[in-house]
């Protein structure tokens, strides 16, 4: 069996287990009710977007210092996946906020910095679309991939640095999260990490095939 097929199967099982833990295993939160269950995939999506942008950040350094296109492929693939999950965060957050806060959106530090993060990486992909020259595309986007990552720790620490209404359930001591809820959250994070690996393999395959196609057509 090919390794990619094995990763696909493990991801499918992990996501199925995460759905079971979210909807059946995790207890219903007393005050928020069923809408609290958005939290498990919302937090997991946020974790994946941070992790994806971190991979972009690290690979961007390699692009600048080694000039190898493989790192550019990994960095841009990871940024693309990061945007998908950051979009999920920005959609599921307001859906949770409406019944709990009574509003879809508020200019809270956590929400605002997350929106800025989304715009930074959308800008990263737009920059890549507008540049035709491979070398310029790789270097300019690597610079943005490094500078843009500054916003990730700002998003993470925003609820500690500024006054905010966003819940902080991952604070020291568990933040009042019941043990079964914590288990469900960890399972969701594992499932989404597997999902990230699956998507990375697929996006990297697309980039690899595209480069091969371009090379053959330019050599002809």
């Amino acid at each position: 069996m090919k390794i990619t097929a094995l990763v696909d199967i493990v991801t499918f099982i992990a996501v199925s287990v995460a759905i079971y833990f979210t909807f059946i295993f995790a207890p219903l939160e007393a005050q928020m009710g069923s809408v609290q269950k958005i939290f498990y995939f919302h937090v997991a999506s946020a974790w994946i977007s941070f992790f994806a942008f971190f991979v972009t950040f690290v690979c961007s350094f390699f692009v600048l210092f080694t000039n190898k296109y493989i790192f550019d492929d990994i960095a841009s693939s990871s940024a693309e996946i990061g945007i998908i999950f950051c979009t999920i965060v920005l959609i599921t957050g307001p859906i949770w906020a409406k019944p709990i806060w009574g509003t879809w959106w508020t200019w809270d530090p956590r929400l605002t910095t997350t929106l800025i993060l989304w715009f930074i990486y959308v800008g990263y992909l737009m920059l890549r679309k507008f540049l035709d020259e491979e070398d310029k595309k790789a270097k300019f986007s690597a610079a943005l991939g490094i500078i843009g990552f500054i916003d990730v720790p700002i998003v993470f620490f925003s609820i500690r640095w500024w006054r905010t209404i966003h819940p902080n359930v991952l604070q020291q001591g568990g933040g009042g999260l019941a043990p079964d809820m914590l288990k469900a959250l960890l399972v969701s994070i594992f499932a989404f990490t597997m999902l990230y690996i699956t998507l990375m393999i697929k996006t990297a395959t697309v980039k690899h095939l595209f480069r091969r196609y371009e090379k053959i057509t330019s050599d002809r």
Partner: protein, 45 residues
């Protein structure tokens, strides 16, 4: 169930985004593989 529709719509969006992205990637892979094999067979001829 209290606030069920909010929960339902949140998970609907999550899966639409993920499946949409997976479908896009799979179609890109198939498309590129087809183009490559066509190109390689043309070169052999």
């Amino acid at each position: 169930m209290k606030n069920f529709w909010f929960l339902f719509s949140a998970y609907l969006f999550i899966w639409i985004f993920i499946f949409g992205y997976v479908l896009k990637l799979n179609s890109s892979i198939n498309n590129l593989k087809m183009k490559l094999s066509k190109l390689e067979s043309e070169m052999e001829d």
